[in-house]
């Protein structure tokens, strides 16, 4: 639960002068800290993977519950995936690592926490196709638009999302961006992009390299 979403601009604490970022009001969650809201889980699942699933098995979207997207919706989400996370010289795009199927798995989930996102995603996808002819009379769908126009529409949505992440259709783009980017950064390929180099056994841990300590003006640890 995030109580800070709608609060007015915060005041400066008594003893410290804080350097505020203008306009920023989003809060950060400390993932890994015991910050989990018990209230958020108080829902009864339909048919999920159960309370004692096989942890070691590797799962594919569609394996545990049926997926939702039609072929056209799937193609649209693939297009959006690659606008949100395009390929570059060193890393693949989101669709190249199957993130569109993760988005489908998410909105098809029997659990309320994910399933509540279903309507917003489906509504937003339909809206994008409805928008298309207004930008190009020959385009019946978002996918049929030229790449520049597609990018322009997404840029507008991104600005709307930054201004108010709860108001539609900015809210749709905020959610989709989170799912696509989150889905991407949790793959081994996406972890490389952020620069996560762990999850590998090392008998020795020597602390950060000297280059890092130098940047911070810190002396080496004993």
């Amino acid at each position: 639960m995030n109580r800070s979403d709608d609060q007015p601009l915060p005041r400066i604490p008594r003893r410290v002068a804080l350097k505020w970022i203008a306009g920023a009001s989003a809060s950060l969650t400390i993932s890994g800290s015991p910050n989990f809201s018990p209230a958020a889980t108080k829902t009864i699942p339909a048919v999920g993977y159960g309370r004692d699933p096989d942890i070691l098995k590797q799962y594919q979207p569609g394996e545990l519950w049926p997926l939702t997207f039609t072929d056209a919706q799937r193609q649209l989400v693939i297009t959006l995936c690659d606008i949100i996370i395009p390929a570059d010289d060193t890393s693949p795009s989101a669709s190249q690592v199957g993130v569109h199927d993760f988005v489908d798995e998410w909105i098809s989930s029997p659990y309320q926490e994910q399933n509540k996102d279903r309507n917003l995603i489906l509504r937003g996808l339909a809206w994008l196709d409805e928008e298309a002819p207004r930008h190009d009379p020959n385009a019946e769908t978002f996918v049929a638009l030229n790449p520049k126009t597609r990018l322009a529409i997404c840029s507008e949505l991104a600005v709307a999302a930054k201004n108010d992440r709860k108001e539609y259709p900015g809210s749709f783009f905020y959610l989709l961006r989170n799912l696509v980017a989150g889905g991407y950064f949790t793959t081994p390929e996406g972890m490389k992009v952020v620069g996560y180099a762990g999850n590998t056994p090392n008998p020795i841990w020597n602390g950060p390299p000297k280059e890092v300590l130098d940047k911070l003006g810190l002396s080496p640890q004993e």
Partner: protein, 605 residues
């Protein structure tokens, strides 16, 4: 003696223990190693951390990128199975309606209990924490002092394997020489916090203590110290220590540890206890009631076999409760008889009273100095490595603060494995016009990843009259066992402490050069304080004390009128210190078990 079914139980045991976590596991270990015939009842199934832990799985291998669901409430790869804030068929209720008047109860139904779901932070209570009534005029004094418990802290630490450093700090005691394993090197964010907090604020960040092996345990030396004169126990313990590998600096301890570097009850306590031949373990056994004989002594435990919903009774000379503090409270209250119509130990209506938890809040910011770092592996021992013990003990004692209990600060930093939420972090700091996507998002990810610093505070809570549990007259679980109804209200002292926590964390982040994206909740601590139970540090409800009229048990957890019934878990804590409770549970449980061994030998039980 092995893992058994109800048909295979002995006709009587020296001791039956309810629960297999830190308390139950520790008592089972100490009793079994000393030749006492023990049965452990565990409400969940057997669990093998070696075979059932997904050590290196990445989130894309799991359903929903391993996100939390009602089935796996801390995420898919968390070790918890059939556990959670809610468990189907096993309700609990709250008298209060508002969120802050409600208590959230994490229950672990699996072998090893809540030691499977644990950050492994293992701190000793300090001398002041045992005497809050005398020193601060709040809560209750413990019937023992720090010096009484210190020898068992040493033994519990050597047995579990705890890393940390002796810093000579006020009210954060050192261990005896040779007890602690070396602490890991700090990460960049931890070093920065340590340096800036010390220079600008005089606050010391030091290595935290955690139950994770950073070096092999000394299997030649330690078993002799823990089991002097007991060759068999020494051999079994030495053999078990040699099966444990030091941490290989990867994968979160909350997943479980298949290389046995991290402590859990099954790995460190139950396995060697089974090896002694003196322990039976009965899984899927939900305890209903402690029975008493005509003389008023505990005679055994009635339980439901969850496999076929049949009820059974097992007899024992001694009954020990280690079911998790509030589950032990529930058992005491449900153990009604003609002689004890209000439940066991409840002659003065004290069972269920004085529940406490860590008073907790957190705050975070982005640290520009940590941007654009070169790529390197910063997993370390995965999880907490540094903390700031409470640095104003003198001010507390002199009344210079407007709250009576201290708190510690734990850093949450580093280039950790990305999660579904990683991208959202970049929004408030990105220079893009809209929320970042496309090429910009990848650039932001490379620049900002690892530059976010969170600090969590966990503080002391003194017993108050508003935090208690009772039996709900209207609700039973799926086996017809009455359930607990909680009452909860943080005191003004707790809220003042949280305001101070928020201010301190903001000052430290500021000293690190933070860019803040929201405000600390100094003037509205009720919005920052974590719900009661949310930190899973709840203790109390059957507090120990000096006298039968003011407490439920004596200093060994023995229920005053029923000395062959002992409570071994956190239920006997008279208060919560600004330290995590598990290490103190282990040390007290070992002390209680040693006392029970003596008393059994003397024929007193």
């Amino acid at each position: 003696m092995p893992v058994i079914s109800p048909k295979e139980t002995q006709s009587t045991y020296d001791a039956v223990i309810v629960g297999s976590g830190a308390a139950g596991g520790q008592v089972a270990y100490t009793l079994a190693m000393n030749g006492v015939k023990v049965l452990v009842l565990e409400a969940g199934r057997m669990f093998d951390p070696v075979r059932e832990t997904a050590m290196f799985h990445t989130p894309n291998m799991a359903p929903l990128r391993a996100a939390a669901t009602p089935d796996k409430q801390y995420g898919f790869y968390d070790a918890s199975i059939q556990s959670g804030w809610t468990i189907p068929g096993e309700p609990y209720t709250n008298a209060g309606k508002e969120e802050l008047r409600q208590f959230a109860w994490w229950r672990q139904r699996m072998m090893g209990g809540r030691t499977n779901h644990w950050g492994r932070v293992s701190l000793r209570n300090g001398p002041y924490d045992f005497k809050t009534r005398t020193r601060q005029g709040v809560g209750f004094d413990w019937p023992i002092s720090y010096d009484d418990l210190a020898p068992w802290y040493d033994k519990a630490e050597m047995l579990a394997g705890i890393f940390g450093a002796n810093e000579g700090l006020e009210n954060s005691p050192d261990s005896s020489p040779g007890v602690l394993l070396p602490p890991p090197k700090m990460r960049a964010g931890e070093l920065l916090a340590k340096d800036r907090a010390q220079k600008k604020l005089g606050i010391s960040f030091v290595p935290v203590h955690r139950a994770v092996l950073t070096a092999p345990q000394d299997a030649d030396r330690i078993p002799k110290k823990i089991h002097p004169g007991n060759k068999k126990a020494q051999r079994i313990l030495a053999d078990n220590m040699r099966t444990r590998s030091p941490c290989f600096h990867a994968t979160d301890c909350h997943r479980g540890c298949s290389i046995k570097a991290a402590f859990d009850s099954t790995t460190v306590l139950l396995n060697p206890a089974l090896e002694s031949g003196n322990l039976d373990i009965l899984p899927n056994a939900m305890a209903r009631q402690v029975t008493v004989d005509k003389s008023g002594k505990a005679s055994g435990v009635t339980y439901v076999d969850k496999v076929d919903n049949t009820e059974h009774h097992v007899a024992a000379r001694v009954v020990v409760l280690g079911a998790g503090s509030q589950e032990s409270v529930r058992l005491l209250l449900n153990s009604k008889s003609n002689r004890f119509p209000d439940g066991l130990g409840n002659d003065h209506g004290l069972v269920g009273k004085y529940i406490t938890d860590s008073v907790s809040s957190s705050f975070s910011a982005q640290i520009p100095a940590l941007e654009n770092m070169p790529v390197y592996n910063e997993d370390g021992v995965v999880g907490q490595q540094a903390y700031a013990p409470f640095w104003r003990c003198k001010d507390l004692q002199n009344g210079n603060l407007d709250f009576p209990g201290g708190y510690k600060l734990l850093t949450v930093a580093g280039r950790k494995m990305p999660s579904l939420n990683t991208a959202k972090q970049f929004d408030p700091v990105s220079e893009s016009e809209g929320i970042p996507f496309g090429k910009q998002l990848k650039e932001d990810a490379r620049r900002y990843y690892g530059s976010f610093q969170g600090i969590g505070a966990q503080g002391a809570m003194d017993a108050n009259d508003d935090c208690y549990a009772e039996l709900d007259p209207d609700t039973v679980d799926q086996w017809g066992i009455p359930v607990l109804r909680f009452h909860w209200k943080f005191s003004d002292n707790d809220l003042k402490q949280v305001a101070h926590q928020q201010e301190s964390i903001a000052a430290i982040l500021d000293a690190m050069g933070a860019r803040f994206t929201r405000a600390p909740k100094i003037d509205n601590p009720e919005e920052a304080i974590k719900q009661g139970g949310a930190i899973i540090h709840e203790v109390g409800g059957a507090i120990m004390g000096e006298t039968p009229d003011a407490s439920v048990t004596n200093q060994w957890g023995q229920v005053w009128k029923v000395p062959n019934l002992a409570v071994a878990d956190g239920a006997i804590f008279p208060n919560t210190a600004d330290k995590n409770p598990t290490l103190t549970i282990l040390a007290l449980a070992m002390r209680t078990a040693d006392h029970l061994v003596d008393e059994l030998k003397k024929g007193n039980l």
